[in-house]
């Protein structure tokens, strides 16, 4: 049902088509001024940003959307746990997020004549799955925050572009100051992205399996945190009674 709403909602097309395409074009324009060795970032970066945006924002914003349409109370009071409902919504976001790669990769190929020539297919596929899992873990651990605090929407949205940097979507994390690299090290998507670019032939180190392992392990920690947060959300929402407030 979440997917059905997305198909008919123009805002979704912003998420998987317009926004990643603009960022991809920007990235391609900027990165095409650099060396050809940065081409994978130019090709995949826009798609990653779109994919991430839909998981990170839309997954969590689903709660906010429920609040705005006045249906949050209805779904909180039904026998299906909120976490299960959110998982379905995030799955829908991730599916649409994958569509982001279509316009961005096509733009890179057709306009800038860039393509991924040195892709190692099996590791690439594995790291893509790990990346999706890490996005899912982040989205589901952020979702309860949206339910608990109305201002969390501003906090999480405000930091969205910062996450592009910390996760290394369009440039390697090694580019960042050391203190930010330390922050990046606790982000599962950052490790998954690193492994994805390694599988795309980027010459920035090849501890591929270590990076995949770290991404999975940190994602599992996020899932544990989200389980605790959902329990807290249920209790707190029922104490404050603010579910109906927009």
């Amino acid at each position: 049902m979440s997917s059905k709403v997305r198909v008919i909602t123009p805002f979704t097309y912003l998420g998987w088509l317009v926004y990643p395409l603009i960022i991809a074009i920007l990235g391609l324009l900027i990165l095409s001024q650099g060396s050809a060795s940065k081409s994978a970032y130019a090709i995949l970066g826009g798609g990653l940003i779109g994919f991430w945006g839909l998981a990170y924002q839309e997954g969590g914003n689903e709660i906010q959307n429920e609040r705005w349409s006045g249906t949050l109370e209805q779904i909180m009071a039904c026998p299906t746990p909120l976490a299960v409902i959110v998982v379905g919504k995030i799955a829908s976001s991730l599916t649409f997020g994958l569509l982001s790669f279509i316009p961005t990769v096509l733009a890179a190929y057709l306009v800038w004549h860039m393509s991924l020539r040195n892709v190692d297919p099996i590791p690439f596929l594995v790291s893509f799955v790990v990346l999706t899992f890490s996005f899912f873990a982040v989205a589901i651990s952020l979702a309860p925050l949206y339910a608990m605090w109305r201002w969390s929407n501003a906090l999480i949205n405000g930091f969205e572009i910062g996450m592009f940097a910390l996760c290394g979507f369009m440039f390697p994390v090694a580019q960042l100051p050391h203190w930010l690299q330390a922050v990046s090290s606790v982000l599962a998507p950052a490790w998954a992205t690193r492994s994805l670019y390694a599988a795309s032939g980027q010459p920035y180190g090849h501890d591929y399996w270590l990076w995949c392992g770290l991404a999975i392990a940190i994602s599992c920690v996020y899932l544990l945190i989200s389980w605790a947060l959902f329990r807290l959300v249920d209790k707190r929402a029922r104490i404050t009674g603010q579910l109906a407030f927009v």
């Binding site: 805002f11 603009i22 369009m170």
Partner: protein
């Protein structure tokens, strides 16, 4: 005096209404986190592609563009939110001068936009050690005011579309990010393809 009173009241209520959901944390994330994030990302991207010596170009450009958060998003939401909360018909059916009402609401965003640029500059100076000691501050201030007014004008223009379109925030987001491409913020206008 009536139009002046409407103008001033519109300014004040618009600003309060926008943040009535915010705690200090929510407000700070809007005013601080988003600007820091944008400057960080695009400056690092730019220096990754073209070298550290170009940090000033990217940091300064993105700091200036921050006024569009208010000018584009803020002003468009002024009208868009009226539709969302069901007060647009009431407003349109009232005898109040619409130009004065909406200009009043947009004006507060012009002021807030300039504050956003000032904050962005501080971030750029601190994070990327941008040297502004040789800058012509008076001319710079005029540029900031001009940019703030022009983004608010853009916001009003696109905000008017919410009278006929429901999902005007799609347009707000698109306009905001297109400004990053076409206004010489992250890539010189002369470097764009001829059609752009």
């Amino acid at each position: 005096m009536r139009p002046v009173a409407i103008f001033i009241r519109s300014c004040w209520f618009q600003y309060i209404a926008m943040f009535n959901w915010a705690t200090p944390i929510g407000y700070l994330s809007y005013k601080f986190l988003f600007p820091v994030s944008q400057i960080l990302f695009f400056t690092e991207l730019g220096t990754f592609a073209t070298g550290r010596s170009n940090a000033l170009y990217f940091a300064l450009g993105n700091a200036l563009q921050l006024t569009a958060i208010n000018g584009v998003f803020g002003v468009i939401s002024t009208v868009g939110n009226e539709r969302q909360y069901g007060t647009l018909p009431i407003l349109l059916a009232s005898p109040a001068n619409r130009l004065v009402t909406f200009l009043g609401r947009a004006f507060i965003h012009v002021l807030d936009g300039m504050v956003a640029v000032a904050l962005g500059l501080v971030v750029a100076i601190v994070m990327f050690r941008i040297d502004v000691t040789h800058a012509n501050l008076a001319l710079f201030a005029i540029c900031v005011v001009t940019i703030s007014l022009s983004t608010a004008g853009l916001g009003l223009m696109f905000g008017s579309l919410s009278l006929i379109l429901r999902d005007v925030f799609v347009i707000a987001n698109t306009v905001y990010y297109l400004l990053l491409v076409f206004c010489g913020i992250n890539i010189a206008v002369s470097s764009l393809p001829a059609w752009a």
